[in-house]
Each structure stands twice: as structure tokens, then as C-alpha cells.
């Protein structure tokens, strides 16, 4: 089972993290931005589980943390989508560039 060394997993999770951030920065659509945020949160979960499993098998702190992260991510996504829908009703667009009336 320990065939896959920890570094590979960490590589995957960091890669996933930066993909999420790249998605957040470039995608024009608010919903897809939300999805890329979920990606980053999942990469963090992978991190936690990997560390817990490989380095500190005796304790389960990492696992508890992952459970809470998942639940909070869900709550956050729900509220975010509600706000985006509200935004859509006013701006008639969910383009991230569109909602910049307040600047300078």
C-alpha cells in the first residue's frame, strides 16, 4: 500500500491547488470561479489526508479537519450561489468583469 511515495501525492495536490487558483483568476463566469475555489479546497483536503496517513497515522486530526472543510465548503458554495443569483437579477449577467460599478 505504501508503494506511492508521499511526494507524488503532494505534487498532485499542489498542482490541483494552482490549477484552482488559475481557474479562479481567468474564468469569466462567476459560477466557474466558484467551482475553481472548490478545486483548491479539495487540494487542501488531499494534503491533510496524505499528511495524516503517511506521517502521523496514529492521530486523526487531519481527517476531522477534512470533514469540517468539506461541510463548510458546501455552506459557502450555497451562500455564494444565492448571492450570484441575486446579482444576476440586477446586472442581467454573471460575467465577473460586468460587476465593477464601484472602483477607484
Amino acid at each position: 500500500m505504501n508503494a506511492i511515495p508521499l511526494q507524488h501525492i503532494l505534487l498532485v495536490s499542489t498542482g490541483l491547488f494552482f490549477i484552482g487558483i488559475y481557474g479562479f483568476l481567468t474564468r469569466r463566469n462567476l459560477i466557474t470561479m466558484l467551482m475553481s475555489i472548490e478545486l483548491t479546497l479539495n487540494s487542501v483536503n488531499i494534503n491533510f489526508v496524505a499528511f495524516n496517513r503517511y506521517l502521523y497515522p496514529t492521530k486523526q486530526d487531519g481527517l476531522f479537519f477534512v470533514i469540517f472543510v468539506i461541510s463548510i465548503a458546501a455552506a459557502e458554495a450555497a451562500v455564494a450561489i444565492a448571492i450570484i443569483i441575486n446579482l444576476y437579477r440586477k446586472y442581467k449577467t454573471i460575467d465577473a468583469e460586468g460587476a465593477d460599478t464601484m472602483r477607484f
Binding site: I21, F24, L25, M33, A96, D100, T101, M102, R103, F104
Partner: protein, 644 residues
């Protein structure tokens, strides 16, 4: 001797009358201000005479010298333990003589002004300023401390400013007053720096200690001051020359004389008192007070005094010959006579026979005060009668104003140096002193004596002879008793003053000095003055074209002397052109644009930066996230590399 309070009363009485009239004059004592001023002057003049009499005759000599009596002294403002300004009164021969002259002339002027200024609306302020002037002049004369003299020196300058600018609704009077104050103020700057230099090295401000420390040859203070040098001259020379600059400013010597002719804007009695008898001789008095230091320790400074005096007397005499305004002629003649006193001091040595110059100078100061005041008051009477200063409007007045005519003639004879009159004796002693010590100055003095006779009698003949004036145009008479009494009294004094044995009272080292008249020696000056008088008679007794022909012959010299050798214009160019024009305007411009500009630039720079920085807030969420990411990355880079 009189007790200290009576002597202190001499200066304090005019002060009291100044305060009384000054504060209450306008509303309550309008008419009474003249009599109050004159009364207080009368009292202080009487006290002065008593003190003089007791000082010279009853107190008498102590081991051959009239010793200095310090009436009282209290510390006014102390700078460091031994250097402090203390107010005090000191009696010594020259100061007693001066209080006599000042109080006498002031009394005469007060009486004269009673009627001269009768119609004037601001007569109370006039009399209060006159009393202020007398108080500060007496204070100056009796000063025991060099700084106290400087203090009263400035007060004298102030009162002359106020009196010159008395008719302040005339712009010319205002400008003249301003000019007088600024020129004397400029000279007082030299006086102040001179005081600083001398007092620092002599570690005292008190006259007696200062003079004794700087004149006894071996004293450590003298060594320290003469050893220190600045740009080639020893500090002692610098100090004394700067003191003399202060004196030259006040006595209108050559470069700093430009304010005296303009000072004639003031009322004539003022010119009689201030610009003839008292204030202008303050410079001579100061040099006389510091004479031991000048003579014993620093002959170089004495040379400066001598030559400035000589140049000024010749220069002023030349200008006086061509002026048309009678008060300006008298002003230039005052300047010339003070030049006489200055170079008399300049040529004099110290002690015994070669101290003749010192006694001659003060004797001439005494006599000159009398007859010059008489000349001015006479001129005042003439102006009062003719209502104009210009010579062309006068002529043939001997029948209209006989008393003024006689007294004016007496004064002219005195100033020309004709024998029986007082002017002859004092001028003869000056010529004797300059003949013994400095021949070139003697020649200048002789030539100026001739010129003086010429321009005085030019004045005399133009006013009283020349052409018949139509009688009816001037209905009113010569002026009340109050105007005539001072003229007559002063004329009597001019007659008698010559015979006072001045050497017995005042001499450079205090020991009595007997001076007799050498008939042979004084022949030349008398002849010169007589020929000056005859030339003037020939030119001006009757309407004649001679003066115009002489003017064309002299041509260039005449024109130059007529517009006062353009010294005024030079000074104007220096101050208005350079100081105000370039430096002042540059400073104002520099302040407004550069420094103010810098501050405003800073503010606008901040605004420009804040405008550019605001552009960062683009309003787009993704830009914000990008900036957050950039922030985190830069922090990581900084900490992982730079900080580690």
C-alpha cells in the same frame, strides 16, 4: 553743590512736561501746552545755570582738574556680572557746558514758538515733542554709560523724526522724516557695533572705566584690543571709527549728510533747536567724550575724524554758495561749521598746549550754537513775514523788519569771523590749532572761512537789500514780542560769548589753558572774510547781472554744486535700486515661488501619486485576487531569500 535730586530734575522736568502735554494735551490743555513747556524749560535752565556756576566756581578744582561727579547711578539691565547698562548722571566740564547750551537754546526756541506756532492746530503735540527732544538731549549729554548714551541717541533720533514729520500731511515732510530716521539709524548701527567691540574688550560699559582702561598705555585691556586685528586694522581702530560713523550720521558729516537739508521740512524753530544747535553736535560731543581714547591710543582714528571734518566743511561751503532756499543755505552752513569742530578735534593732541584743538572745537560748538540758532530764528521771522523760503521772493526787507535785520547782521558778522564777535575768537583758535598740527587742513579751513563769509553775506544782502519790495503786500508787522525777545537776547550773547576765557574751563586733560589772540596770525583769516563780504556786497547789494555772469564762468562747478554733487541720487540708487529693487524683490519672489512653490508642489505631488495609486482599485474581483496572490508570493520570496 546742588543735591542729586535737583540735578536729576534738569532732564526729568522736560520728561514730565512731555508726559503731561502728550497724554492730556489734545483735549484739556490745548492752549496751556505752550506755557507749560516753556515754564518747565525755564526751571531746568535756571537749575542748569546754578549747577554750572556751583560746579565751575564753588566746587573748583581738585588737584588742578574739575573732577567728574557721578550724581547717581543704578543698574538698569545687567548682561553679565561686570558688564551692565546702568542709568546715571555724571557732571564734568563738557557735559555741564552742554546742558547750559541745550537748556538755553531750548528755552529760546520755546519762547519763540509761543508766537510762531500760534495758529497751529496740533500745537500741544508740537510742544510735547519738543520737551521729549530736550529730555533725550539732556539725557544723552549727562549719560554715565555708553549704552545709556546710545539709548538717548536713539530717542533724539526719534524726536527729530517726529518733529521733521510734524506737518505730516505734506508728503515731502513725511519722506524727509523717514529719510532722516533711516540715515541716522544706519549710522547708529555703526555706533552699536562700535560699542559691542569696545565693551567686549574693555569688559565694561561705564564711561569712566572704559576711557581709563582703553587710554592708559600699559593696561591689559588696551593690549588685548589693539593686538586683535580684523582685515589689517586693529579692533580698537575699528571700534573708534565705527563710533565716529555713528557720530558722523547724527552730525551729518560728508557721506551721511543727505538727511540734513531735507530736514528743513520741519517747522523753523525745530530746525533752530535740533538741526542747528543741539542734535547735530551730538557727534562732536561723543568724540569729545571719548577723546582720551582717540588721542592717546589710536591716532589713526583721529586722522579719519580730521579729514572727514575737513572734507565736509569744504563740501558744504561750496554747495551753500549756490542754494536758493534760505533754510537749506543755513543747513549747509551748519554742516560746514560742524566740519570745523570735527577737524579741530581731529588735529588736536592730548594735554597742555597741543590740546588747543579740543578746547577750540568745544568753544566753537558753544558760540556756533548761539549764532546759528539766532540765524535760524531770524530766518524764521523772515519766512513768517514773506511766507516763502525762496530768496527770489525776498529783498529790501531792512525797513519792514528792522530788529530781525540788526540781529541777522550780528549773526552774519559772527559766523564770518569778523573780530569783535564771538565767531572770530573760536574760529581763530581752531585755525591756530590746525596751523600747528596739520597744514593742508589749515589751508582748507582758510578757504572755507572765505567761502562762509561770502555765502552768509550773499544771504544777508539778498534778503535785506537787493530790490525794493512793495510795502502793501505784507500788512502785518514783524511778529510779536515773543519772537523778537529771543532774537535780541541771542544777539547779545553772540556779542559777549567771544570774551569767555574758555580754556580755563574746558581742556583736553582738564588743566587750565590760557590762549591769547595773536594779532599777526589772525590777520589773514580776517582779511579773507572781509574780501568775501565785499564780493557778496558787489554781487548782491543791488540788482545786477554779476551773479549770472559768474555762474556761466564757473559753469560746470556751479551746476554741480547747485544740485548738491548728486550725492542724494547716488544714495537713492544704492537703496532704492539695489536694496529694495533687487534684494527685496528677489527675497519676496523667492519666498512666494520657491519655498511656497515647494510646499504646494509637495501637495500636488501627493495628489498625483494618490490618483495613480487609486487606479489599482479596478473594481474587478479577479484583479483583486491577482493582487492578493502577488502579495503572498512577494512576501514568500522576501522571507525565503532576503530574510533567511
Amino acid at each position: 553743590m546742588l543735591s542729586a535730586t535737583y540735578i536729576a530734575l534738569i532732564p526729568l522736568l522736560p520728561l514730565a512736561s512731555f508726559l503731561l502735554i502728550g497724554l492730556l494735551g489734545k483735549r484739556y490743555l490745548k492752549m496751556a501746552s505752550g506755557p507749560i513747556g516753556t515754564l518747565s524749560l525755564l526751571l531746568s535752565c535756571a537749575l542748569a545755570c546754578i549747577t554750572a556756576f556751583q560746579y565751575f566756581f564753588q566746587a573748583g578744582r581738585v588737584n588742578g582738574v574739575f573732577e567728574k561727579i557721578t550724581v547717581f547711578k543704578f543698574a538698569w539691565l545687567n548682561f553679565s556680572p561686570n558688564v551692565s547698562i546702568d542709568m546715571g548722571l555724571v557732571l564734568d566740564p563738557i557735559s555741564v557746558m552742554m546742558i547750559l547750551v541745550v537748556t538755553l537754546i531750548a528755552l529760546m526756541v520755546h519762547i519763540y514758538s509761543l508766537s510762531y506756532m500760534k495758529g497751529e492746530e496740533r500745537v500741544s503735540t508740537y510742544f510735547s515733542f519738543l520737551s521729549l527732544f530736550t529730555f533725550s538731549m539732556l539725557g544723552l549729554v549727562l549719560a554715565s554709560n555708553i549704552f545709556q548714551m546710545y539709548i538717548f541717541w536713539e530717542l533724539v533720533g526719534l524726536s527729530s523724526y517726529l518733529l521733521i514729520g510734524f506737518y505730516f500731511d505734506k508728503p515731502s515732510a513725511v519722506a524727509a522724516a523717514k529719510k532722516a530716521f533711516i540715515v541716522t539709524r544706519f549710522a547708529d548701527l555703526g555706533f552699536l557695533i562700535g560699542i559691542l567691540i569696545l565693551s567686549f574688550h574693555a569688559e565694561t560699559l561705564d564711561f569712566t572705566t572704559l576711557i581709563s582702561r582703553l587710554s592708559t598705555p600699559g593696561s591689559p585691556w588696551l593690549l588685548s584690543i589693539s593686538s586683535a586685528s580684523f582685515m589689517g586694522f586693529s579692533l580698537l581702530t575699528w571700534g573708534l571709527v565705527l563710533l565716529f560713523v555713528g557720530g558722523a550720521g547724527k552730525s551729518a558729516m560728508f557721506p551721511l549728510h543727505i538727511w540734513l537739508p531735507d530736514a528743513m521740512e520741519g517747522p523753523t524753530p525745530v530746525s533752530a533747536l535740533i538741526h542747528a544747535a543741539t542734535m547735530v553736535v551730538a557727534g562732536v560731543f561723543m568724540v569729545a567724550r571719548m577723546f582720551p581714547v582717540y588721542a592717546l591710543s589710536c591716532p589713526a582714528a583721529l586722522q579719519v575724524v580730521a579729514w572727514t571734518g575737513a572734507i565736509s566743511s569744504l563740501f558744504a561751503a561750496l554747495i551753500a554758495c549756490t542754494q536758493t532756499d534760505i533754510k537749506r543755505v543755513l543747513a549747509y552752513s551748519t554742516m560746514s561749521q560742524i566740519g570745523y569742530m570735527m577737524f579741530a578735534l581731529g588735529v588736536s593732541g592730548y594735554g597742555g598746549e597741543n590740546g588747543l584743538g579740543y578746547t577750540a572745537s568745544l568753544f566753537h560748538l558753544f558760540t556756533h550754537a548761539l549764532f546759528k540758532a539766532l540765524l535760524f530764528l531770524g530766518a524764521g521771522a523772515v519766512i513768517h513775514y514773506v511766507h516763502s523760503n525762496e530768496l527770489s521772493k525776498m529783498g529790501g526787507l531792512r525797513k519792514h523788519i528792522p530788529i530781525t535785520h540788526i540781529t541777522f547782521l550780528v549773526a552774519c558778522l559772527a559766523i564770518a569771523g569778523v573780530p569783535p564777535f564771538s565767531g572770530f575768537f573760536s574760529k581763530e583758535e581752531i585755525l591756530m590749532a590746525s596751523y600747528q598740527h596739520n597744514f593742508p587742513i589749515y589751508c582748507i579751513a582758510l578757504f572755507t572761512a572765505g567761502l562762509t563769509a561770502f555765502y552768509m553775506f550773499r544771504l544777508y544782502f539778498s534778503i535785506f537789500w537787493k530790490k525794493e519790495l512793495s510795502a502793501d503786500s505784507h500788512a502785518h508787522g514783524e511778529g510779536g514780542f515773543a519772537m523778537m525777545f529771543p532774537l535780541v537776547l541771542l544777539a547779545l550773547f553772540t556779542l559777549g560769548a567771544g570774551f569767555i576765557p574758555f580754556g580755563k574751563f574746558i581742556s583736553s586733560d582738564g588743566l587750565p589753558l590760557t590762549s591769547e589772540v595773536h594779532l599777526g596770525f589772525s590777520l589773514i583769516p580776517v582779511l579773507l572774510s572781509l574780501c568775501g563780504i565785499f564780493m557778496a556786497m558787489a554781487f548782491y547789494k543791488k540788482e545786477s547781472t554779476l551773479p549770472d555772469k559768474a555762474a556761466t564762468v564757473l559753469g560746470e562747478l556751479y551746476k554741480a554744486s547747485f544740485n548738491k554733487f548728486k550725492i542724494d541720487e547716488v544714495w537713492l540708487k544704492v537703496t532704492k535700486g539695489f536694496l529694495f529693487g533687487i534684494v527685496g524683490r528677489f527675497a519676496a519672489w523667492f519666498d512666494k515661488s520657491i519655498i511656497n512653490g515647494a510646499i504646494d508642489l509637495g501637495a500636488s505631488f501627493a495628489e498625483v501619486v494618490s490618483d495613480t495609486v487609486r487606479m489599482l482599485q479596478t473594481g474587478k474581483v479577479q484583479d483583486y485576487a491577482a493582487c492578493v496572490l502577488a502579495g503572498v508570493l512577494s512576501l514568500c520570496l522576501y522571507f525565503l531569500y532576503v530574510w533567511m
